[in-house]
């Protein structure tokens, strides 16, 4: 090797003739991945959107069947929470009976409540000693609002049947929202539970419970 070729003083370091010192310093990568990199840029927008939508959809499915897997945490994204939040805010803003501006504060209120609440819950679990990052926690909390959005849709369906058995309809709505609330809380604790120290799990779950409780309350009382 070239080690024994070195002179004692390093003023004249010579390299053995056999060792090539010139050449391409680029690591030879397989051509396919280079093509892939290029193709992600060149691919049609439809493909990009479909890929992202599929990822979001997969995460929603994970929320519907909450199992203790890491996918929601590993590839976090905030598209799902945004979609859910906007849907919730649009549905909750209500078609105000008399004034066209009745719904304006409600959209902002729901939006701010959801995001501010999620941020507070995230900070709380972070301060209690949680091991997941800020955006991962936001991602999980946002995705787990999905059952509540579904229940909101069902509430609107029952509200369409106006005048017939209002008490029964109210009970149906109440049960629907309660189930969704329980589902959301359970799903988020499944995903976030392992990141907390075991003797503080309840402390981390309580704010999540409160957060979904406020959203559920907004859904139940949305009778317009």
């Amino acid at each position: 090797m070239a080690a024994n070729e070195f002179s004692a003083d390093f003023t004249d370091v010579s390299v053995h003739e056999n060792v090539p010192v010139e050449g391409n310093i680029r690591i030879s990568v397989p051509l396919a991945s280079e093509d892939e990199d290029m193709s992600t840029l060149d691919e049609p927008v439809k493909d990009t959107i479909m890929r992202d939508l599929k990822a979001v959809g997969k995460k929603f499915v994970h929320v519907l069947y909450p199992k203790n897997n890491d996918e929601l945490l590993r590839d976090w994204d905030l598209w799902g929470p945004l979609i859910v939040c906007v849907f919730l805010a649009m549905m909750l803003q209500g078609k105000g009976a008399d004034s066209p501006t009745h719904g304006v504060p409600q959209f902002a209120e729901v939006f701010v409540t959801v995001w501010f609440g999620a941020i507070v819950v995230t900070f709380n679990s972070h301060l209690l000693g949680g091991t997941i990052s800020f955006f991962q926690s936001l991602c999980v909390l946002g995705y787990c609002i999905m059952p509540l959005s579904v229940s909101l849709l069902l509430c609107h369906v029952t509200l369409l049947a106006k005048g017939s058995l209002p008490l029964a309809m109210f009970i149906v709505r109440f049960i629907c929202v309660t189930l969704a609330f329980a589902w959301a809380t359970f799903a988020s604790t499944t995903f976030l539970g392992n990141s907390q120290p075991p003797n503080r799990k309840a402390l981390a779950v309580y704010p999540i419970f409160l957060f979904y409780f406020v959203i559920s309350w907004m859904i139940i009382t949305n009778v317009t």
Partner: protein, 399 residues
């Protein structure tokens, strides 16, 4: 023409011609590549650009080269503030008087500029000093600016890491579930021992969660009272009320404790007051759903009075002097009990009245449809049924 006048005129004319020549020289020096021919004359007699050790071989560098100028000072820094004595470097007269400013005089080849009248020399010196100082000021300015920037950046980074770091709050959230439960239950148990300062927890998790719980309960109470208003106002008002009470009364108590020389910190007051809100939370939760006046008064005394008593005892144990104790305890007790009364009776009524007032000023909020429930109905035993019906009732959606 008098001879004196003539000589005076000639003197002025010579001065003017010298000045003109010097200006041309300056201009040429600035803008021509061979301008350095002029410069040795200027710089040597000038001031700080000259090398104290001299350049025997006449190795003059261009005036426009700032790095060369810095080398002229040898091993010392560009701006050797020790040589400046007490000068701040702001006025060039001071700099000119500094030792570095006059070493250039009398050097080889520098005498050309020295011939002539003193006035001429002054003019020449002024211009040379001006040149030198301008260059030095540029360097000085740059270095100072660089130092100020670096110091400012470091300070900003330190301040940011100190204040914007969420981990600063971590010690106040270092609590176990068992501890929180214990503290919640103990908030109803006043400790009478006032001789020894009672231990107060420095914890913010419990109080923060209790304040948020109170916000949720207030929202729920407003809905069941049958007041259907714009939800934005409700949510903002609820949060504002609860957090305003917690932070505002804590600040007031801390101020009074400071005046009364109490041994208590702000975090301890926040913690104590936060846990003291557990009782009112329970009371409100029950009485917003069961509207009975007598029940409320009993709960007010028990659920509001016991935590207040506990807080009062804790504060008294940490204060010396009867008058100080009286001031602190009366303030705390009155504020805490009145707050509970206020929340129960006046909250939704205040909101309604506030909205009525706001509605009369159409510029501020848009018109909203409101259904006002008369207060007598809200507090009557039948109000529960009415409240439930208001939830069930639904208006036809506008398509």
């Amino acid at each position: 023409m008098p001879v004196l006048h003539q000589s005076h005129d000639r003197h002025h004319a010579r001065q003017a011609s010298h000045r003109a020549r010097d200006c041309c020289g300056l201009l040429v020096a600035w803008y021509s590549p061979i301008g350095h021919i002029w410069l040795p004359v200027r710089r040597r007699s000038g001031a700080l650009m000259a090398d104290p050790r001299g350049h025997p071989n006449g190795d003059w560098t261009s005036f426009r080269d700032p790095t060369a100028q810095s080398h002229q000072f040898g091993s010392s820094s560009i701006v050797d503030m020790e040589n400046m004595d007490d000068t701040s470097g702001s006025s060039f007269e001071d700099i000119a008087e500094a030792p570095g400013g006059t070493t250039g005089l009398g050097e080889v080849g520098g005498d050309e500029g020295r011939t002539g009248k003193p006035g001429q020399d002054d003019v020449v010196e002024e211009d040379e000093e001006f040149l030198g100082i301008k260059g030095l000021k540029g360097q000085l300015g740059k270095q100072v600016a660089g130092q100020v920037w670096e110091a400012g950046r470091q300070q900003a980074a330190r301040a940011f890491s100190l204040y914007a770091n969420i981990d600063l709050l971590r010690p106040y959230f270092d609590v176990e579930t068992v501890q929180v439960r214990k503290r919640l239950l103990e908030s109803f148990v006043p400790r009478k021992n006032m001789k020894v300062p009672q231990k107060l927890p420095r914890e913010l998790y419990g109080p923060l969660m209790l304040v948020f719980t109170m916000v949720a309960i207030l929202l729920q109470g407003m809905k069941t009272s049958g007041t259907i208003v714009s939800q934005g106002t409700l949510m903002g008002t609820a949060i504002g009320t609860c957090f305003g009470y917690w932070l505002g009364v804590s600040s007031l108590l801390y101020f009074l404790a400071y005046i009364c020389n109490s041994k208590i910190t702000m975090v301890q007051i926040l913690s104590m007051l936060g846990y003291g809100m557990f009782g009112p939370c329970l009371v409100l939760f029950i009485t917003y759903n069961i509207h009975l006046h007598s029940l409320f008064y009993v709960l007010w005394l028990v659920g509001g009075g016991l935590p207040t008593l506990r807080m009062v005892c804790a504060l008294s144990s940490r204060t010396t002097g009867q008058r100080q104790r009286l001031v602190l305890c009366c303030t705390l007790a009155s504020l805490h009990l009145l707050f509970l009364l206020y929340l129960h009776f006046a909250y939704h009524r205040v909101i309604e009245e506030l909205l009525v007032t706001l509605e009369e000023q159409p510029a501020f909020i848009p018109r909203q449809q409101r259904e006002l429930v008369p207060p007598e109905v809200a507090t009557s035993p039948a109000s529960l049924r009415i409240a439930t019906m208001s939830l069930i009732r639904s208006s036809p959606p506008i398509l």
